[in-house]
Symmetry: C2
Subunit: 307 residues, 2 copies
Amino acid sequence: MTTAFADRVAVACRGKGNSLCVGIDPRPDLLPLGLRVPASEGLEGLAAAYETFSLRVLELVAPLVPIVKPQSAFFEACGPAGMKAQQRILQRARELGLLTILDNKRNDVASTAEAYADAAFAGTLLDGVRHPIWQADSMTINPYMGRDAVEPFIAAARRTQGGVFVLVRTSNKGAGQFQNLESDGKPLYRHVAEAVGAWANEQLASCGYGDVGAVVGATHPRELALIRQWIPQVVFLVPGYGAQGGGAADVAAGFRDDGLGAIINSSRGIIAAFKPDDAKWETKIVDAAKAAIDDLRQSTPMGKLRG
Amino acid sequence: MTTAFADRVAVACRGKGNSLCVGIDPRPDLLPLGLRVPASEGLEGLAAAYETFSLRVLELVAPLVPIVKPQSAFFEACGPAGMKAQQRILQRARELGLLTILDNKRNDVASTAEAYADAAFAGTLLDGVRHPIWQADSMTINPYMGRDAVEPFIAAARRTQGGVFVLVRTSNKGAGQFQNLESDGKPLYRHVAEAVGAWANEQLASCGYGDVGAVVGATHPRELALIRQWIPQVVFLVPGYGAQGGGAADVAAGFRDDGLGAIINSSRGIIAAFKPDDAKWETKIVDAAKAAIDDLRQSTPMGKLRG
């Protein structure tokens, strides 16, 4: 890994001709019937089913998309066995040439944040040797605790040419409760966005973007357009497209004219694009990913990435 | 578990005559030499050493304090084996009659937050049966994403007579970057504090406190006093006493006159109260816990809890 994170993202997106990210968010009732494990096998059985399903999803989407995003909550919900599954899924994604975003929204005071960040990136240091854990290319983090709680994640990411995505304007309905509070004439999410912009400026890649990104939900198109103007050098991770209600038109303003700048995540819209009893679930996943790519290429600057 | 969370906290604190919480934050270089495992045994060896040490700490402090707080970052930093250690430590704490705060600062959109919350409290539901994971009495959460991202944690806590502690004013130096931004004449942390107060009011226990608590750092004594005035019905989890620099006088304002209302956490001040080569490290831990209790009882309303 010798290229800055934003350049690695740009190369991957140009290579695939899109910036669709497939969210790996497995749930018991969305698994194909054929992969289910009896409930009597408990959380270890569930973790095994999640792993089998997720690995197959990775193989199906690896030829199509540049990036995947495992949602850590669903693996934690299988207990320690789920954490092993998460580890193998991240490893397999790397082997398949996919970039990874570990979506775990970590945050803590500096010395504790370092432990989370080491786990996500280079690994835990023991007697001078790094022991890898998640080996993610990037992770999501929560900014509420402020700069000294955020910076250890950025520093750890930079040591592995990785990146972080800071929550700025999240996709959920109640996101505005605190994020929209105005101070000095600017909503909180703008203060956070400007901090993200300053962090990104510390190390811009040759593609013009930084290694500190922003999470900006597709469900707030007006804010997405504003934030794009405020921090043009920041890569956005855009959740909320597809199952959460955001359409291609809603995410278009997240891109820059070069077709880069926005990674559009779809989770259930792809990995649950079938009924559990559908024997052709694998085809449905591939079709859903292709349809999302076509939709985004037609209605957003993403279409400029190749063609 | 048939008593509301705040009553369980009150009973435990009155029973022990204090509200000191011992933070379980193990680190490689703070372990007693005799418990260390060669680095060649990797993260599984580290997890085993953390577990042995933490279980011994629990036994040492269980006769003295009401509550312990495992810091999830340090267990995650051992990978999946660390998660198993965290599980056994939480289980042993329960067996010893200690209340537990799982300090993992989780946050996500509603349906994903549910997965984290189920993991923390009742367990993951499979075919109508709950499969326990952490079985914590309470957990810490981050409010940045707003009400619909917070409420699933509160709902899950209530199903097990558990509680949550919402980050309000954190103990780190840079906490003010966003938390101090003023909107409508109030800093962000006051907006969050008032939301916490409203959530706590939804279900007050007979002791007069709610099951939604607030994390308020000892390193900001003035803010601690203000927040106590704004939301008298909220239990505070106060980090930053001891190694982080807060003294007993700094945390006094976190209590109410009844001697309740503030859980004072000390991590390194207790579990690292010895040099690694000290054969009497167990005695040092006990002495440090006793000294902290004496200090707090002399200089805060905690002294009213028993005597």
